[in-house]
Amino acid sequence: MSSSLVTGKTRIEQMHMQGIVKRFPGVMAVNQVDFDVRAEAGRGEVHALLGENGAGKSTLMKLLYGLHRPDQGTITLNGQPTVIRSPQVAIRLGIGMIHQHFMLVPSLTVAENIALGMKSSRGALLDLARVRGRVRELSERYHLKVDPDVPVWQLAVGEQQRVEILRALYKDAALLILDEPTAVLTPGEVDDLFRVLDQMRQDGHLLVFISHKLHEVLTISDRITVLRDGQRVDTLPAKTATRLMLAQMMVGRPVVLEYDRPAVARGERRLLLDGVSALSDRGTPGLIDVALELYAGEIVGTAGVSGNGQHELAQVIAGLRPTTGGTITLNGQDVTHKSAAHLHKLGLAYIPEERMIDGVVRDFTVAENFVLHDHTRKPFAQGGVFLNFRAIAAAARTAIRDYEIKTPGTDTPIKRLSGGNIQKVILARELARRPQVLIAAQPTRGVDIGATEYIHHRLLDERAKGTAILLISEDLDEILALSDRILVMYEGRIVGQMPRDGVDVRHLGALMAGAK
């Protein structure tokens, strides 16, 4: 099954980046970095790149894919110095990339996305039938199920990921860069992905794998390179590495990977959902008859494969999605059909899943984003009309200090911050008002170890203070590490509920996969 994939493109035996430097305004994103991937005896390699947010991983790989030009340094392919001027050139050379932020056109179908930028076999006419056929073939071979005729915006994140991989396979990339491909996948999906990657490695593909999850890196890679602040810390064989060692290299200090969860007395009931239903964006039932209780001082984790209603659940509770049935009670008050602003006043806080889209206004400053909800409240506004910048900046400065947010200042547009730091701003904002109930959706997706550790500690602190927390995550480790109780969602329903202690992980996985 493997040989048919190699369609005669020059195989890349070896790729070597030497002394690479890349500056951005005010940032040395990549500083004198050497990096290489090589095949041996027809077998490829998985070379993992590790590093905190902003370490320069994506930038280094974008240089390889022709999205940026290096300021210094050389790239050699099979010993030949090569200038990669644009993605077009990279693609021609057999380099593919799956981006951290997916590079898909939402309004186009899967097949159209894959056909994009490729020569059509029918000349000036699209050959979607052929693309479709080939996609079916590939998706069968690699167990990557997607319907080629569905527009991409209708796909859940995990499915979009599959489209990206299919596209790379379709284009027969000899060297494939995967920038945080697992950030959005469930454990089962990660296993599937690793099977694909392993198969590709057998076929002689070279793979660069970026992830924040150390156990994944240790599982799949042959070699590991750690970056910190744009510089290479070390490159080592995966066999000799340990999680603790890697974490320390990345962060530059010892890290705690397991948390204490001191017992907290469960308080009164804060949130009650009774028979709640809602539609998904596609107009299909997204949430069906969901019942849920949340008590003060507990973290309830919601596990499930992406696209099983977690998104709708969070939005419904936050007042951002109309319900089609059932009641929601917050602190004893019926809040069904109440607006987001109203719920917020009653002490609900929400960390949204898509932080760049829902959580912040990109062009606003850090300070302005800090008062997204509370801009009309004292002390941030006088008389509800005039903004008090002194107070806003002071509050933002406090948050920056308390949450160790890396930013040039409070008046920096938030889009200039790294993802982890933006997430910290959101967390700081939501926690600053001492919420009674906190909905945290994917709070550490794409966030580095240091920041993840920090966010987890904060959530546990909140729990200790008596906040009721609903944690929605596709990262099972996170759920297991933080939760007091665990819910499992499948096809819009809550299909299982269990206390954290003594949980059977295999049983949990089966529930997530829809087993009765």
Partner: protein, 406 residues
Amino acid sequence: MRLACTVNRPSVRAFFLRVTDNFPYGVAFAAAFAAASVLLVALSASPFAAIGAMAQGAFGSENATAETLVKATPILFVAVGICIAFRGGVTNIGGEGQMIMGALASVTVALAMPTAPGPITVTLSLMAGLVAGGLYGGLAGLLKAYFSVNEILSTIMLNQVAVQIMNFLLNGPLLDPTEIGTNAIAKTARIAESAELPRLSLPLPGGIADMFGTAELFGRTRLHWGLLLAVVLAVVTYVLLWRTTIGYRIRAVGQNERAARYAGISIPRNVILSMLLAGGFAGLGGAVQVLGLQYRLQTDGSPTGFTANAGFNGIVAALFGGLNPLGAIPASAFFGGLLVGAQKMQRDLGIPASLITAINGLIVMFVVSAQYFVRRRLKRRAFAPSEPVEAPSALTHTPAPAEGNP
């Protein structure tokens, strides 16, 4: 032209950089001038005489300067409104129609109360202009917010509708009673003198007065209080957009609807509000044209006959001003000068009006292209010296006080 508002500590260097940053605009003018010269020479006119006439016509005398500012006034009103609309994510192309509706309402009010004390009439007439323009703009906002009717389409169409409403009213109910039975052009009666927005002049202190040979600046020109009103409005709007919760919400909706919704900010309400304000300001611009300049409303059947294209020029001025109401002030003055100066060029040198229109187009294109080079310079400068840079940290940098700057 974009106001560089981000410099916190003014210094000689910063000032110098700001001057050199605008260097490409100088080049753009030179290039536009060169391109225009080709045309001028082809028509056997001297390019230097032409630019001289232009400058003289725009700022060469007290009267020329006043005319430039008179021209700039309605442009500024519209531009300030456009800053709100565009910041709020609404592309308002309806300045023309909104001006007309404002003018119609204000002239109606002014004519309805011929004997009332001046300040009352003026205030009520201005209010009427504000409200009528606002409602007309708000209509497009409403259509967008609740019926998903694209505002570019609706405002373009509503401009034409407004003209026809004006034609109808001026030929009928609002027609000057002394004109009934004549064939004169359709216009309203003249408003009472007490209803006029006063002319604006600056008393000059003795020494300077001697220098200019006149005791007050702009004393014998058409400059009127509308200019002051527009500038005040620009400042107020700046405060509104960047210092108040209202502006905060409008900008949040304009830049990220989903985040705004998540923050509990109502999208339809803010879309309509930005259109109400944008339309209202354009309407005020129309009212000011009537009360301060023309003293009546008249139609030749076209929108431009009354608005002089201010509804469109206001968009360009707002964009040139970086969608900042304060930036719109110099941008509007620049446009006023361009339009008034160009007319002088025609009068003095007999250059055809069409060439002047074409040259104005060239200047707009060249100047807007120059922004590319300005941005590139700014970006280059943002690159730190070549040594490796520490990741910026909150601990090493004392955050500057938050500035409500764009």
